[in-house]
Amino acid sequence: MKILTRIILPAIVVLLSITFPLFAGPYQQSIAKTIIIYMILALSWNILLKTGQISFGLAGFFGIGAYASVLLSLRLGIPPLLTIIVGGIITAILAAAMGMIILRLRAMYFAITTLALGEIFRVIIHNLPNFAGGAHGLILSSVIFDGNGYFTYWLFLAGAFFSIGLSYFFDKSKFHLALTTIRDNEITAKVRGIDIFKYLLIVFTITAGMQGLAGGLYSQSFGFVTPESSFSGDFILLPIAMALLGGIYTTAGPVVGAIVLGVISEYLKLYIPYGHLVVYGLIIVIVILFMPNGIVGMCSNTFRKVDQFNE
């Protein structure tokens, strides 16, 4: 069982994902790119969750990254690929600055503060007509790679692999132990000598950078930003739902959740054009009720039972 799940299955998935554009048309690639965006957001949210902090700032950092990337392209003429990376870094730096002040908060107070910050970013951008296009937004003269489907897809895939890698790193490294301890009991963590604040700051900064990166990918591949679409609340709740449905605290969870919900939502809208969102909401409710540990959580429980049975 272990060889199957740990090595063969991931290898097949990786191979399929890289060769995807060779057997899938532009429509499927388009869906894949959307799934990857949400996947990166779900993964980044999940990483911070491991420290016990719930963030609602996803949309805010996503929007900052999107705008940063577009502004760097428009105002400074920096090549698109670079703007995505620099946009992510700018977002991370901004997050670090905010984090110094707000990371002392816990639980829902932290969550509401991150939400409020995201909204503040959006309103500021909205009120800057000359610098940031104000209510109308900004457009790029061309999209990245001039719209070449293959390159754009592989760029997105690279973003996905990077995010999965980061998540895996946080799973396996000494970070993992530190973060889990912080989440379980901060007093114990302190006693063990773990500098909670430093860890939280590092994780918060990196995950915000991931969200900014996703924003840059989005804005460069579609070629525009607007306050409403770049800071949309969908970028908060949908990734969280995906991470939960997939299974939180694992790396596979957000990946699975993003793919499952992304594919299902597309399918539903093809067959239930007027009203598919009702069914989508129902699916979320039902899965949460019956699979509280998410899909991955349930599967690993099942496999464990099978393993125990086999012993």
Partner: protein, 306 residues
């Protein structure tokens, strides 16, 4: 806060209020009316959050359902919305019971996040179902008395909107009485503070949760009826109020019901203050969220730091 500090704060507030009344009284009038609306909608969420400890992301959608039910009753039977509030609140109470028993009850043992996403799913189901049935075209109920106004010299202002702060005060008063003086209410407070302890003492925690959730749903349904009198309704009208209520409850502190009123007042007046300056309306959106961050940060500073 020490008594001296309290007196100084009170004095400052009174002076501030007097200044405003002399300079631009509409700020205080509209600020209070606005605050009333926010508070009346946020109080039911504070109730649920304080006792059942779940964040109900479908809160705004329940407001919307209350409004649509009222619209349906009024346009079919020709009732006045303030009268229709009674049957609507009964229906909403039942709806709350059903929602609790079918969905929320089963996630209470699971991590907090599950409840969050569950209510998110419910919000989607409610909002999109109403959208399917009623379409996204706004509905309005034209009622005469909502535009009643008073004139003092050069100043004309609407008075109907005072119904919202009145409603907020009634709801707050009613809830405080319920929680402190009735048997069920006191049991609910115990459950809110220590569910395990309450269970040991013999309180039926599940029943308390059921009552509280249904009560909250009924209250927010009533607010839906009131909302219909002043605004056009459409399926997604509730969404922004969920976030606003959540923010206000966080600002007041969980379990602090009167605090919700104060928080709403500060925010309502601050927003109206900014709006009174032509051209700065766009920034009034930031006021809301900036205030919340500031208050939360100040409170955390004073509290114990880990």
């Amino acid at each position: 806060m020490t008594k001296a500090k309290r007196l100084i704060l009170l004095g400052g507030i009174i002076i501030f209020a007097l200044l405003i009344i002399l300079w631009r009284p509409t700020i205080l009038i509209y600020g209070i009316q606005r605050a009333g609306l926010y508070a009346a909608i946020a109080l039911p969420m504070a109730l649920v959050l304080g006792i059942v400890h779940i964040v109900n992301l479908a809160h705004g959608e329940l407001l919307m359902i209350g409004a649509y039910l009222t619209y349906f009753v009024c346009s079919t039977f020709g009732m006045d919305p303030l009268v229709a509030m009674l049957p609507v609140s009964a229906v909403m109470f039942l709806l709350g019971m059903v929602v609790y028993k079918v969905t929320i009850k089963h996630t209470l043992k699971a991590p907090e996040l599950n409840q969050l996403i569950l209510t998110f799913g419910l919000a989607m189901v409610f909002g999109q179902s109403v959208n399917l049935i009623a379409t996204s075209q706004p509905r309005t109920l034209s009622v005469d008395y909502v535009s009643t106004s008073l004139t003092f010299g050069k100043l004309t202002f609407g008075v109907y909107d005072f119904i919202f702060p009145v409603a907020a005060l009634i709801i707050l008063g009613g809830l405080l009485f319920f929680l402190r003086k009735t048997r069920v209410g006191k049991a609910a407070q115990a459950v809110g503070q220590n569910p395990k302890g309450a269970e040991i003492v013999g309180i039926d925690v599940d029943k308390i949760y059921l009552i509280i959730f249904s009560l909250s749903t009924a209250l927010v349904g009533i607010m839906g009826s009131l909302y219909l009198t002043k605004q056009s309704i459409f399926p997604l009208v509730g969404g922004p109020y969920t976030m606003k209520s959540f923010a206000l409850v966080a600002m007041a502190g969980i379990g602090n019901l009167p605090g919700v009123l104060f928080a709403s007042l500060i925010l309502g007046v601050a927003e109206t203050f900014l709006l009174s300056f032509k051209g700065y309306g766009g920034w009034s959106n930031i006021v809301f969220f900036a205030f919340i961050i500031i208050v939360i940060l100040i409170r955390s500073h004073r509290g114990k730091q880990i």
